[in-house]
Amino acid sequence: MNWRDFRIWGLAPAWVIMALTLVLPIGIVVLVSLSIRGAYGGFDWGLSFDSYAKILFEEDWDGNLAFTPQYLAIIGRTLWLAGLTTLICAALALPAAYVIAQAPARWKAVLVYLVTLPFWVSMIVRVYAWIIILGNDGVIEKTLRGLGLVADMDSLLFTNGAMLTGLVYSYIPLMILPVFASIEKLDPALIEASHDLYGSRWVTARRVILPLTLPGLMAGAVLVFVPCLGAVLEPILLGGGKVMLMGNLIQTQFGGGRNWPFGAAIAVTLMGLVMIFLMLNALRARREVSHA
């Protein structure tokens, strides 16, 4: 085995697989988004921006285009829910990770294990659990009824709140682990130094702990935000398909073979949003490095 050659052929399989299963197909998706919807599902090659126009406009009976907020609302809701999920995950992860990091060594290993464990449990099972809890006659409803607080209530399922709960629950481990890693690297002497220099707990948290764990928070934000934008399970099962997100909108277009070019156009839009987010994040990271 020659090391010089290995530099080439060691990387070749990764390149080939990614090129054939990712780069090339994404190129095809872009082409499909520009093609024309086929008569019997599928698509016919062509160059048309109809699918993108459909995101904003609706064709009425006379063939005129009228603005429709339907899909914009879905995109907006997706961004809003993904953003909110990321924020809630960060707010939950920071104190939890801090307590875990401060725990004695023996406890720490156990707590890290416990916080990772749900991540290993199948996502679909974890989402399903919330159906049992939130659903009609579910755990929450029964508990509230048992306490005599409500006589009858609307289902908690199929709401934005249900989706939000499911998203936070699904992705919280992806936030905790990087945040924990950066808190662990934090020198405890820095916290003591802050107190020594007359900083209260609140000042220490805001001016010492938070800035120093920001890299972990940002890494976690990327890990949570990106998959949230493309979430499929949560909107279908907890949103019941009534409140759509971009993920299940795309899935529906391909699922029933209904409108591939439109589905591809939404997918390209989603990809664009993710890229803008990642680029902003990279710019911010670079700025921080140049400051440091």
Binding site: A19, V99, V115, P227, G230, L233, I250
Partner: protein, 263 residues
């Protein structure tokens, strides 16, 4: 003396957080022992749904398909990731190093639904029919970064001294890899393989979109059951999956954190 590092309320918050983390899973487990046909009406303790789950042909088929796909995809992804990590961490003057690293991690940078749509269209265009093969290809691709990251971390955490010492002591590059590098990064390789396996077993979005007769994976099968409504059997199946994940996760963590330096 007060410990300035402690924040009042943080521990209670964390305790509640862990409760929230585990309550849903515990609810599923508890409901799986319900004797009643209706999941939400508790009538008594029973193991009958476990029995019926274990005799469910379609479920067992789905498990078998998931294991097959995850097994093959893990082997492919881990091998590819190991090779890439060796070049990217240890190689000198590697051209396109940063680009290559991005390429290897590409599946992490995009929402899975986009990748799923992409492979779906690709397979329909080249007319690939074999459902199992489609799954293996797609899963291998998106599992690569999950196998890659722990291997790279382990390699980066290992001083190149050991490999240099091996070469210094007349070991050829291949002997160096087999007798020094591989044993020392084995925990990372194992962790990567485990992660790839779990990601593949757990995958819903791609498997669902590519789903065709004879290639229904476990999550896709469960999804179908959930759509039909909550049943105690579904709870039993979920509990079995939780149990399986628990065993897998514990094995993985124990093996990963076992320090090879301590004999």
């Amino acid at each position: 003396m007060r410990d300035v590092r402690r924040y009042p309320g943080a521990r209670i918050f964390t305790a509640l957080f862990f409760l929230w983390l585990y309550l849903p899973i515990l609810v599923v487990i508890a409901y799986s022992f319900n004797e009643n046909r209706l999941a939400s009406v508790w009538t008594g303790f029973s193991l009958r749904w476990y029995e019926s789950a274990l005799h469910n042909r379609a479920l067992l088929d789905a498990v078998q398909i998931s294991l097959t796909v995850a097994g093959i995809a893990t082997a492919i992804a881990t091998t590819v990731a190991l090779m890439a990590a060796l070049v990217l961490v240890r190689g000198r003057d590697v051209r396109l190093r940063r680009l290559s690293e991005t390429v290897v991690n590409l599946p992490l940078l995009l929402p899975e639904i986009v990748l799923a749509v992409a492979v779906l269209i690709l397979f329909s265009q080249i007319g690939l029919q074999n459902g199992l093969l489609k799954l293996v290809i797609a899963h291998s691709a998106f599992c690569i970064p999950f196998a890659f990251l722990p291997i790279r971390a382990r390699l980066q955490g290992m001083e190149p001294d050991f490999e240099e010492a091996a070469q210094d002591l007349y070991a050829s590059p291949w002997v160096t890899f087999r007798r020094v590098t591989l044993p020392l990064i084995a925990p990372g390789v194992f962790a990567g393989a485990m992660l790839a396996f779990v990601i593949s077993m757990d995958d819903f979005i791609t498997s669902n979109l590519l789903n065709s007769g004879g290639s229904t994976t476990l999550p896709v099968y469960i999804f179908g059951l959930i759509k039909q409504g909550t049943t105690p059997e579904l709870n039993a199946i979920s509990t079995l999956i939780v149990l399986g994940s628990l065993i897998l996760a514990t094995t993985a963590l124990v093996l990963t954190f076992r320090n090879p330096n301590r004999a």
